[in-house]
């Protein structure tokens, strides 16, 4: 019983290892669209930031 749970857990980790790299650049693209220029060029990169719609406003204006 326990071994089957471990197997399931490992399989889930494998699936995550496929899904996360696939999603990562797309999430980065989406995140940078709601990030200010200052936050985008910050070093070290700010993984937590206050989202803004100003980029969308500029594009649609």
């Amino acid at each position: 019983m326990r071994i089957s749970w471990i197997k399931k857990g490992l399989f889930f980790v494998l699936v995550l290892a496929i899904v996360i790299p696939v999603l990562f650049p797309l999430l980065g693209m989406g995140a940078s669209s709601v990030t200010t220029q200052v936050d985008i060029v910050a070093w070290p990169p700010r993984l937590v930031f206050t989202p803004t719609l100003q980029n969308y406003e500029r594009v649609f204006r």
Partner: protein, 296 residues
């Protein structure tokens, strides 16, 4: 009454020609004409900046291009980019297909997520990956420094630009190979596996002796599609590096683009495209022949 009868019989007699005509016209105009016109231009010295009319110079454009070290370097880069990207994509695609071939909760969602890179716009992908690769503010170097490794120039250095671009190609196109192989795996019957289980075969033996031989035709189809596409890659490279730094990521397609739309040397650009066309053709024929020999 009489003329109608004649007209009707003419249409009826020629239906087999009339009905396929739109498709034939489409193929001739949209497919054959550009290829033949490119072949024709490759024998000319057409230069948009010279103001001179186009004249036929036969193989002189070929000689000039073949003598260019930049052409041979671009040819080598096209090969290395294709070989690196397609080989990694095939191996990773196979591994992912084997994983996704099992039944599990969220399989549909995983397959849906796998489709996302395929439908993403190349320019958007280029921008996202350029941000990721940026030598000063990029997340890639942030991770490397956190791991205590030296920063890399990624697309900013001639030694790392091709592997960096190949990584983007791998990210975008591995899901396609995985999904093609997944459809191939789904069509396999269970009987050989059951017999193998009775004989005491391991999972590893099952893969090498049953799965791989049976899925090889599908694998080769995926390989043909990807090789052709990788040889012709333009959008990602142009969006990310424009062929730079210097000429270090300039493939044949990028070089042909620059020759035609930056230097306006249409004749020489056509020569490069003829070489690219022949390259794609030879590679496709080789893989098709390989596939046929495996089926016999």
């Amino acid at each position: 009454m009489e003329p109608k009868k004649i007209r009707g019989s003419f249409l009826e007699r020629n239906l087999h020609i009339i009905f396929p005509m739109p498709a034939v016209i489409f193929v001739v105009v949209m497919m054959f004409f550009p290829v033949l016109y490119t072949f024709f231009l490759s024998f000319t010295n057409w230069n948009l900046t010279s103001g001179m009319p186009l004249s036929i110079v036969m193989l002189r454009s070929y000689q000039r291009i073949l003598r260019e070290p930049r052409f041979l370097a671009a040819l080598g880069r096209t090969f290395s980019f294709t070989a690196l990207a397609v080989s990694v994509e095939t191996i990773l695609g196979m591994i992912i297909a084997l994983i996704l071939n099992r039944e599990f909760k969220g399989k549909g969602l995983t397959k849906l997520i796998m489709l996302l890179p395929l439908v993403s716009t190349p320019v958007a992908i280029g921008i996202a990956w350029n941000l990721f690769y940026d030598p000063t503010i990029g997340l890639a170097n942030f991770v490397l420094t956190r791991l205590g490794l030296p920063k890399q120039a990624w697309t900013g250095s001639s030694s790392t630009v091709i592997p960096s671009l190949a990584l983007v190609d791998i990210w975008q196109w591995t899901p396609m190979i995985a999904l093609i192989l997944l459809s191939g795996l789904a069509s396999l019957t269970n009987e050989p596996y059951e017999s193998a289980r009775v004989d005491g075969a391991t999972e590893w033996q099952n893969f090498w002796r049953i799965t791989l031989p049976m899925v090889t035709p599908t694998l080769l189809t995926a390989l043909i599609l990807r090789s052709i596409d990788a040889l012709k890659t333009f959008d990602i490279i142009y969006a990310m590096t424009g062929g730079g730094p210097g000429y270090s990521s300039e493939t044949l397609n990028i070089m042909a683009f620059k020759y035609s739309f930056e230097y306006f040397r249409m004749g020489q650009a056509s020569v490069i495209l003829v070489f690219l066309f022949l390259l794609v053709l030879i590679m496709s024929l080789l893989i098709v022949r390989m596939r046929k020999s495996l089926e016999l």
